[in-house]
């Protein structure tokens, strides 16, 4: 038990140091813009279909599941407001972050671990390129930028899925549905959701990079790294979400 606790604090400390190094080095040249753009494209483009599909299904399922209960209470007209708030505040960001933790986080972890094992990171260093800047800063910045973009996309697609169900089952027009969503959604719902998405993106990137960059134990370590990156990043998404909800709640009460 004591060993596990020690291991937990050690790993937390190491990740914090790694994140601190990111913030120390991100401001200073050389800036690897080309690699950053490439990573933004890879993370955004390659996750778009998966995030869009799960968001669409989630919108449909959420609407189908809650519809009978709302009808029972005669509150069917509240459907756009309820689904809109649920998706924008919570389901969209968390679902997107979890999907990206699995897809992007594990991908980054495995890629960097594989590069480490095959001495590609050392090779980069001897060729005069700072591998931390080229590999870590670009990937972490790309996830921090792209996860919020994916969250917004997922939110819109989820609402689209919900609107389709309402249109088919309740005859509600798309215009009416979305005007109702916009009527109830406030800036205070959207802003915290986007802000926490940046934190989710940063956490996914930093965990993937940390696990990959510090990987050891040869090729066996590559699989282990990918797995650990997903587990830790997913856990961290929930922890950050919890903190974000607590902080947002304070602002709501003001």
């Amino acid at each position: 038990m004591l060993h596990l606790l020690r291991q937990f604090f050690f790993t937390t400390g190491q990740i914090s140091r790694f994140a601190a190094r990111y913030w120390r080095e991100v401001w200073f040249p050389p800036y690897e813009f080309q690699e950053l753009l490439k990573q933004c494209f890879l993370i955004g483009n390659k996750s778009m279909a998966l995030v869009g599909t799960t968001g669409f299904i989630m919108g449909i399922v959420l609407t189908l599941q809650t519809r009978p209960t709302l009808i029972e209470f005669g509150a069917q007209s509240w459907m756009p407001a309820m689904v809109g708030i649920a998706i924008v505040r919570e389901i969209g960001p968390v679902l997107t972050a979890l999907i990206c933790a699995g897809k992007v986080g594990s991908g980054i972890g495995a890629e960097l671990a594989s590069m480490k094992v095959t001495e590609q990171i050392d090779s980069m260093e001897v060729s005069g390129t700072n591998p931390f800047k080229y590999l870590v800063i670009t990937r972490v910045t790309a996830t921090t930028i792209m996860i919020p973009v994916l969250v917004i996309m997922s939110d819109l697609i989820s609402l689209g899925g919900s609107a389709i169900v309402e249109n088919l089952k309740g005859g509600v027009s798309f215009t009416l549905y979305f005007s109702k969503v916009l009527e109830f959604l406030q800036f205070g719902d959207l802003l915290p959701s986007i802000i926490k998405s940046f934190f989710f993106g940063f956490a996914i990137g930093i965990i993937g990079c940390y696990k990959g960059y510090t990987s050891s134990r040869g090729t066996e370590g590559v699989g282990r790294t990918a797995n650990e990156a997903v587990v830790i990043a997913s856990l961290l998404v929930f922890v950050l979400d919890f903190i974000a909800v607590l902080v947002t709640d304070i602002f709501y009460e003001l």
Partner: protein, 249 residues
């Protein structure tokens, strides 16, 4: 070793080098001098510290104790920027080739040029890439990915990437490992040709006898973390010491 090489100052000068990993004392007072244009082959058993030695030379591993001067620079005392500048003059070929998987051969060769453009002023990147590939006989592989190359081709491409910066010193980590004897011999001869063409000194870490014989003007046997034996290949081969003899039987 050529007689000319002796007249040049040392490209590498190592004195009393110590390096440990925890309780494992890998290098215990190792010393080495490499003259300009000289090829030195270093042989030793697995785990004897051969790879650690060249990683210390390039500054990838910090040393514990001793003096390590490369191209007139005291490596342990260099700042990151100074070390980067030194690395522009030192080529390093990794054991597993270490080609970047996500890049084509062309991009792999262009990669070292992006940070040292001032060193190769006057040359077009495209020309440098083609010249390096021509020197290793693989110009037709320019647009291939590393996954499309055989083991021998990867070693050649890695060699092309090493020489593209026209280094004064080249460090080879097991350049023939994992290759069949014929390809290994081709790579060894290529190393000698490259040395002649670029007039670069080199340190070749190997446990391949044929590679050591072909590439090395001088052979150093690394055992017990120290220079156990040293001399021309034929001289070392004739030694009757059982440790040295075990390398040749």
């Amino acid at each position: 070793m050529s007689s000319d090489a002796q007249t040049y100052p040392s490209v590498v000068s190592i004195r009393n080098l110590h390096k440990s990993f925890g309780s494992n004392h890998v290098l215990r007072g190792f010393h080495l001098d490499v003259a300009a244009g000289e090829n030195v082959a270093v042989m030793g058993k697995s785990g004897s510290g051969k790879s650690v030695l060249i990683k210390c030379i390039i500054g990838l591993e910090p040393i514990d104790e001793g003096q390590l001067i490369v191209l007139g620079k005291d490596v342990p005392k260099l700042s990151v920027r100074e070390l980067d500048a030194l690395r522009a003059d030192v080529g390093f070929q990794f054991q597993g080739s270490a080609l970047y998987d996500s890049m084509t051969v062309r991009e792999n060769l262009e990669f070292p040029l992006r940070r040292h453009l001032e060193k190769i002023k006057g040359y077009r990147t495209e020309d440098l890439v083609k010249e390096a590939l021509e020197n290793v006989g693989l110009l037709n592989a320019i647009d291939l990915l590393p996954s499309e190359l055989s083991g021998g081709m990867k070693k050649r491409i890695a060699l092309a990437r090493t020489i593209i910066m026209r280094p004064k010193l080249i460090l080879y980590d097991e350049p023939t490992s994992g290759l069949d004897p014929i390809t290994a011999r081709e790579i060894s001869r290529l190393i000698v040709d490259i040395q002649k063409q670029y007039q670069a000194a080199s340190v070749v870490i190997t446990h391949d006898l044929a590679c050591a014989r072909i590439t090395g003007n001088r052979l150093v046997i690394l055992a017990d973390g120290n220079n156990y034996a040293e001399g021309k290949y034929e001289e070392v081969e004739r030694m009757t010491d059982p440790v040295v003899h075990s390398f040749f039987t």
